[in-house]
Symmetry: C2
């Protein structure tokens, strides 16, 4: 019998942590730690991995900005292309490092017991709607902070940019964060899953594309939330579980207050009630909100369980022995 399928969404800290700049040494060390934890999940689950790309794409956009001036004068590429480049970058690092662990410690492939399980990275476009209200209201900050002087030049060089003031920290470009509708390469992902590979797909929330009237798709300058894209990936691959890995061992009520209390298990109804009452605490708003919304959506779309925990506790959480489990 086939093992059940889990989509694992890795947060940015799986690759570049806290104050790190993202040198290759840092990224290899962090990905190695994360890959070791994923190895513990393999005995009981088939796996699709998705991941954030915030620090990587931020570095790349800065590098392109730096390289656009004299004496370099190289063209800045749009955000959809930058996204594709970080999918290649992070996909390669995970595929190489996890692939190496599979060579030395992995189980044999399901289809050919003389071979080990292998990893594949699929460059992935994610369809969003042209009519998504996010396109009228860009909110996702991307790229570098600018000071007063720089922002005037940026506005002149890029009249299409929306720039906002980030209190005390300078000015920053914001882009739309539309809702993901469909993993455009889902057939490719499912085919490789069927054949027994571990897949890396839809990195950085996927390359956002809008569908045209003739069915073709066109890249847009936007950023899709990686957990919401991971939810689409989980539905489009018929995954049983969706594991959202982050830097906290479980979801907390009244986070970072004296009344803080970890939650082992919740239903969708309980999550919705807590969200409505603001019971998770303001501190959680930035990072946990989208995760909980992705969790609710997965379970309403037919998924069986969501776990939210750290990479270290992922295998135990999928067994119900750690982290927060959310069920329909």
């Amino acid at each position: 019998m086939l093992k059940p399928l889990v989509v694992i969404a890795l947060g940015g800290n799986a690759m570049i942590r806290g104050k790190q700049k993202g040198t290759i040494e840092e990224q290899i060390e962090n990905v190695t730690e994360t890959a070791k934890q994923i190895m513990k999940v393999i005995p009981k689950w088939r796996i699709v991995i998705t991941h954030g790309n915030g620090p990587q794409v931020g570095n790349l956009m800065l590098q392109m900005e730096a390289g656009s001036h004299s004496p370099f004068n190289r063209p800045i590429l749009p955000m959809d292309v930058c996204g594709s480049m970080t999918q290649g970058q992070i996909g390669y690092l995970i595929q190489n490092i996890l692939g190496n662990l599979l060579v030395t410690e992995g189980p044999p492939s399901r289809l050919d017991s003389s071979k080990k399980i292998k990893v594949a990275t699929i460059i992935t476009q994610v369809v969003v709607s042209k009519d998504d209200p996010a396109f009228q209201n860009p909110t996702k900050p991307v790229g570098p902070f600018y000071n007063e002087d720089q922002v005037d030049r940026i506005k002149k060089d890029h009249p299409d940019f929306t720039i906002i003031e980030d209190a005390g920290r300078g000015y920053r470009r914001v882009v739309p964060s539309p809702d993901p509708i469909e993993i455009y390469e889902k057939d490719q992902v499912n085919d490789l899953l069927e054949a027994g590979f571990i897949l890396i797909a839809s990195g950085g929330g996927g390359i956002p594309v809008v569908e045209n009237l003739d069915g073709t798709v066109t890249g847009v300058e936007a950023v899709i939330d990686k957990d919401l894209a991971g939810e689409r990936l989980a539905i489009d691959t018929k995954a049983e579980a969706f594991a959202i890995l982050t830097d906290t061992d479980k979801v907390y009520l009244n986070y970072k207050t004296p009344q803080q209390k970890g939650v082992d298990r919740m239903t969708v109804t309980e999550v919705e009630k807590h969200l409505k009452e603001g019971a998770f605490g303001d501190k959680l708003k930035g990072s946990m909100g989208p995760k909980l919304r992705a969790a609710i959506r997965f379970l309403k779309d037919g998924g069986k369980k969501v776990v939210i925990t750290t990479p270290e506790l992922a295998a135990a959480a999928l067994d119900g022995d750690a982290g927060t489990t959310i069920v329909p």
Copy 2:
């Protein structure tokens, strides 16, 4: 019956031409032209696409260099990682543009006639030998030209770099160009081919990795010739034909001399004889030499035919009606 398989190797000019800088508009226009030509090959052939990445990886390395100084201070990533980023970039562009042409004009998928053929990009590592003599003798120029002042700083910042003087044009880093041994993700490529997809793989000659004693692989700073890597890809996918697309309609004897003469058809023995006698002319040495060596290797490894021509003539050349055909 299955259509025969062709590996198509696209030269750099399929994406960025001549004096172009590589803006997104230029790349989209060029890839669109190339994709239209690939559409003509589809009725008779299953297809794997590989491609160069010279201009793209050159831009990226310049951008990383530019972004490594104050006020940006972002880390420079090694060449294997840069290669993976350009695989994502170019893979996305081809996959999006060719995928769109397939949506509007493509034939139905072999396995599900209600669907169109789709495209997939696989991030690809290519195994080279640790003992390849190229590692003792780096020859492939990469990245920017440096002047006298810059080169001193570069040598200080990167004591591991080999820098050569390029007469009259300044100084430049050179890296090893080892021989490709195996497409590491060949199972992933073959699985998707089997299912009826058009594959993009091993871009930029693949991400060069050396195999360690325990069977794991480690990225190295090197560049694999994209036609030689394409040859490996053709063998590892059991392709019948290998099409090397470039900016000349066929191979010429005494190229750019009054005795210039186009060749319609040659055997391996004839190519070897001409190469030995220098009959292709010195002008051809830089670009055609590696293509002819890749062609000879493919046919000696069991391939049935190689065509060398432009993207515009690719379909006709595969029919034997244009370009240069080389046979065993």
